[in-house]
């Protein structure tokens, strides 16, 4: 779960990491009030979960109320690479002497947290790693012990932090680690971590990802993320506990098991089609669950045909077929469906479907055959064999 900058900064502040005073606002009037509170000059920053905000004109300095009015008015509602700006962060502008980079992330390969620090702040980490790897310090932390100030100071020193702020950088690293640790984050990144002319170390930006599986421990973080820009179908799916990801194509996909669904998307793409979604129905076979899934898939108007790809393991295909028939009788979808049932009790399942003779439902035997059929149907070709 990715957080907006201001949400990340709120977590930073909670753990003693210095950030500039600021307010999150949703209107021009609120922006003006916030600017008065935090003090001019201010920075008006678009809050969206996408990089390149500055280039897109989503970050502006404002010296007075007229400028706040102008910038806030322009940025609110702005589209930044597909993300609409609903929220602004109004922050007291910082004087910047130096920009550093700092992050803590879960290194899946080492199975330990990894702290990274560089004096090349303000540049994307991928670029630092590629262009100036010698200026990037990578240091694993023993997750059972945590990051102590000694290791943090070593990282700051090795990374080339200026001597008079080394301790300040080390303190920031320890606080950042605490954010990562205490909030169940998978990533906590500050870019840039700035040094002000009066030698204060402060987080000027925040990029935080939280582990959705750990949210039960953090009820206060439950409603973070960019809910206003969340796809409405994805939000509904989340509320219903269904694994659904909206994609750009026109072929709805349902399968059981995340790996099989990913594979189904790939096989459909190879057959020349374009998937409209990822949906993992899990082990569910009852009519209610299938109806819910079909509803979600069809809520996307772009869907022209749907592929059900079920490999029955513990889930029995005859149960899936029954669920499908019951769901179809209620929903009566207007787009064609291709249904592939394989695995446990597949013959019984296929027989049930054949007997029900649902209109516009085409049985397929294999994954590849099913993919070809659904691609043809979505393209309006009727050559699909029933």
């Amino acid at each position: 779960m990715d957080l907006l900058e201001y949400q990340g900064k709120q977590l930073f502040a909670r753990h003693g990491l210095a950030v500039s005073p600021g307010r999150a606002v949703a209107t021009v009037d609120e922006a003006l009030a916030a600017a008065d509170e935090v003090g001019y000059p201010v920075v008006v920053k678009a809050q969206v979960l996408i990089g390149g905000r500055g280039k897109a004109g989503g970050v502006k300095l404002a010296a007075d109320a007229d400028e706040v009015r102008e910038h806030a008015g322009n940025i609110l509602g702005m589209d930044i690479r597909g993300h609409t700006v609903h929220t602004l962060w109004i922050e007291h502008a910082s004087d910047i002497a130096t920009e550093y980079y700092a992050s803590v992330l879960l290194d899946r390969s080492a199975k330990q947290p990894l702290v990274m620090f560089s004096t090349e702040g303000g540049v994307e980490i991928e670029q630092i790693a590629k262009e100036t790897p010698e200026r990037l310090v990578r240091s694993h932390v023993d997750s059972l012990k945590g990051l102590d100030s000694e290791q943090a100071l070593r990282i700051a020193t090795e990374g080339g932090a200026e001597e008079d702020v080394r301790q300040g950088v080390a303190d920031a690293l320890v606080a950042l680690y605490e954010v990562w640790d205490a909030e169940d984050a998978t990533l906590a990144e500050i870019n840039p971590l700035i040094v002000t002319p009066d030698r204060q170390v402060r987080a000027l930006d925040a990029k935080v990802s939280l582990d959705g599986n750990a949210l039960y421990r953090h009820p206060e973080n439950q409603d973070l993320s960019d809910t206003a820009n969340e796809d409405p179908i994805e939000r509904r799916a989340k509320e219903q506990g269904v694994q659904y990801v909206k994609l750009d194509g026109d072929i709805g996909i349902l399968g059981n098991g995340a790996g099989l669904v990913m594979s189904t998307l790939d096989v459909v793409a190879r057959a020349g089609g374009s998937p409209a979604n990822f949906l993992d129905a899990g082990g569910g076979s009852d009519a209610e669950k299938i109806k819910q899934a079909v509803d979600l898939i069809l809520a996307n108007d772009a869907v022209k045909a749907v592929l059900f790809n079920i490999f029955g393991g513990i889930t029995r295909c005859d149960e899936v077929a029954k669920g499908l028939i019951a769901a179809f009788e209620e929903i009566r979808p207007s787009v064609p469906f291709v249904v592939r049932l394989d695995g446990t009790n597949d013959e019984a399942g296929r027989a049930l479907l054949a007997d029900a003779a649902l209109p516009n439902v085409h049985p397929a035997r294999t994954m590849n055959e099913a993919a070809e059929m659904v691609v043809a149907l979505a393209a309006g070709r009727e050559e699909a064999k029933a």
Binding site: G259, L265, G343
Partner: protein, 299 residues
């Protein structure tokens, strides 16, 4: 032979009294797995169709001498359960539970490595392990698999059944099927399981099924080039997954330009591993390579 589980397996199940736990435990027992006991705090002294239930791992281990534990408890209690099993001396701990916080997985992995280096973890968020004809621990539907010479290691469940079933239909069986799970911090990685298959006499070909996220497939490619003499066929799911979106599994996410299916397939192919582009192609490649190998297939 086979790897990890066989007729010598003595299985203890944490969460045996739950609906899922009891269903799959009894399924495993029906298959022939020797289930020696279960653990559910507060339910010691009861039994599940004759399988004795204990309050703690310590009690259960003392009385039933298990060598394998299966963890079926809800995500928020799973970490403690795994650590308890390790502390009680169980050598192989297979965690089926999905939804365990990544930080808990880190803590478990590193604690077990530090304090119980002899203990092997499989999962979490995995379907378990099946050694056809010998033992089944977990939720893999055994009916699709027969005994044979193909070793399978996979990050996903249903996809494994899909590939395994196609191999079975071509007349080939499996030595062991290992689900390592779809989470960001698996207890065992591809490399750990590849090492076991390389040393296993029964296994003649290895099928590796990976997916987007992390770099376990890239590490496997390096390892295969250096240490694996047996033929390996691979599959990678998620070519069409958009970056930044979690595709069902907690670990299945492309971060920026890292962890893509294309990069993984490329890394494997660069080391001479054949990568099938569909599950069917994987099965076909495996069958073809088995046919080419000098020894007769075990049918």
């Amino acid at each position: 032979m086979s790897i990890l589980i066989d007729r010598e397996t003595r299985l203890l199940v944490a969460g045996i009294t739950g609906k899922e736990g009891s269903f799959h435990t009894l399924n495993n027992r029906r298959y022939g797995t020797n289930v020696v006991g279960g653990v559910t705090p507060g339910k010691g002294g009861q039994d599940v169709e004759g399988i004795p239930v204990f309050d703690s791992f310590a009690d259960a281990v003392a009385q039933t001498r298990p060598n394998t534990a299966m963890i079926f408890v809800p995500p928020r209690f799973a970490a403690d359960s795994i650590l308890e099993a390790a502390a009680a001396g169980v050598e192989l701990i297979i965690t089926i539970t999905e939804g365990i916080p990544a930080h808990d997985e880190l803590k478990v992995y590193n604690t077990v490595r530090r304090d119980h280096p002899g203990t092997r973890l499989i999962g979490p968020n995995c379907p378990g392990i099946l050694s056809p004809g010998k033992a089944n621990v977990g939720i893999i539907p055994a009916s699709f698999f027969s005994e044979g010479n193909v070793g399978v290691v996979s990050r996903s469940g249903t996809l494994t059944y899909q590939i395994g079933n196609e191999i079975a239909q071509a007349g080939f069986g499996c030595s062991t099927i290992v689900g390592i799970g779809g989470d960001p911090v698996p207890g065992s990685s591809f490399v750990d399981v590849l090492e076991l298959f390389e040393d296993d006499e029964q296994t003649e070909l290895i099928v590796l099924s990976g997916e987007i996220g992390g770099s376990a497939e890239e590490e496997a490619a390096e390892y295969i080039a250096e240490h694996v003499s047996k033929p390996v066929v691979a599959y990678i799911a998620g070519f069409t997954a958009p970056p930044g979106k979690q595709m069902g599994h907690a670990g299945a996410i492309v971060s920026g330009s890292a962890g893509t299916a294309a990069a993984k397939a490329q890394a494997l192919e660069a080391k001479g591993v054949r990568v099938g582009r569909t599950p069917t192609e994987v099965a076909e490649l495996a069958v073809q390579m088995l046919g080419e190998s000098s020894s007769a297939p075990v049918r």
